[in-house]
Symmetry: C2
Subunit: 229 residues, 2 copies
């Protein structure tokens, strides 16, 4: 290590990111740039296509490993797998490996006709219920992957939401979001994991707005009443 990662304000050192798609790789790159060590976890780490994709992000701080290694070697696990298969993929890794770990869940599941795969509840709730010992925090699922890592790319401030049962886990996640550039004032804690439902269902309005603007790179800001601020 030849440089001092001055932008790191969290104590987290190693992030295990599950999912080598565009979201997982975008987050891997940004957190590595902020000074963290990233284990990029894949079901098929030997697959030439996966290796080629991961190689773009590889460096001294990003390493492609299999999914189980990305969990067991990490201080914080990030679920960036497709929402429709997240529970199956996490189950293959096993409940024991996830116990007591902060699980930052950014996934949303869509069916083939762009309806939500969890219409009556949310993926975040299902993950917490399936892995009761994991410390699930839902966030980052209301924005496009580019905005995730560049919140200052908008014409003004926007809001990012957090949902989860574990206060300490949410503090850890706040630190990681700060490392991506999200100011503390932009983060709104909605409460328990049940509130992940609102974040995930926002995807439907997100798609309508993206279509109307012709751009996915927008944010939303919660605008409070004038009298209370």
């Amino acid at each position: 290590m030849t440089t001092t990662p001055r932008t790191v304000r969290t104590t987290v050192k190693t992030l295990g990111i599950l999912g080598t798609g565009t979201v997982g790789r975008t987050l891997a790159r940004a957190w590595a740039k902020a000074g963290h060590t990233v284990l990029l976890g894949s079901r098929r780490p030997g697959d030439p296509e996966v290796r080629a994709l991961a190689a773009r992000e590889a460096g001294e701080r990003v390493t492609l490993v299999d999914s189980a290694a990305a969990v067991t070697g990490a201080d914080v696990v990030v679920n960036a797998t497709p929402g429709t298969v997240s529970v199956e993929l996490l189950s293959a890794i096993g409940e024991a490996a996830l116990a007591d770990r902060v699980l930052l869940d950014v996934a949303v599941g869509f069916t083939e006709d762009f309806s939500l795969s969890h219409p009556g509840e949310s993926l975040g709730e299902e993950i917490q219920r399936t892995f009761p010992r994991a410390r699930v925090v839902k966030t980052l699922c209301t924005v496009d992957r580019n905005l995730m890592v560049a919140p200052d790319s908008l014409e003004g401030p926007s809001t990012l939401f957090l949902s989860g049962e574990d206060t300490g886990a949410k503090e850890t996640v706040r630190g990681l979001l700060r490392d991506l550039g999200w100011p503390d004032g932009s983060l709104l804690d909605l409460g328990g994991i049940g509130t992940a439902r609102g974040q995930e269902h926002f995807s439907l309005l997100f798609m309508g707005v993206a279509e109307a603007l012709g751009d996915y790179g927008f944010g939303i800001r919660v605008v409070p009443p004038a009298a209370t601020r």
Copy 2:
């Protein structure tokens, strides 16, 4: 008529508002203040409790009538009935009465456990499908009733959404929203009635944010990328 309603910028004269709850009465008061004539439609216009509530808004420009009269006498019909029973109430009035009329739909249906009554689609779509000749426009359902009529009560500008198949109907509704104080720049046309799904599903995030802020009177603003504006 002794005053000149200077704020009216639409050609609409008579609004039929279905629903005498807080939303319907709030809208009746605001549109009457803007110079429109309002027929406040109730299933039970003779009920003393309904009459007492309506009397608070009554004046030369607000009249309590039965639901059918509110539709047949109106240039624009506003659905402010509970979303869980809207289709049933509109059906009782009849498809013929709704034909060719602009139907401004603000309702969202919730089950007793605060889940959406239309989880797989939206009430707006169901209304348009059930009354194919009505010109349905979904709007105002992403904000609290007080913000509906006081968009300048926030600490900054916010965004209101429109969904519907009929361009002319959306223009009429834009005029009515201007009369409530919504500037043109705050209105975002999402497209066809299918996009009502996003507006209605936002209710779940709305409730989470309201709980977190301890206040229903907030708005959301779509914040575009800096480069495009």
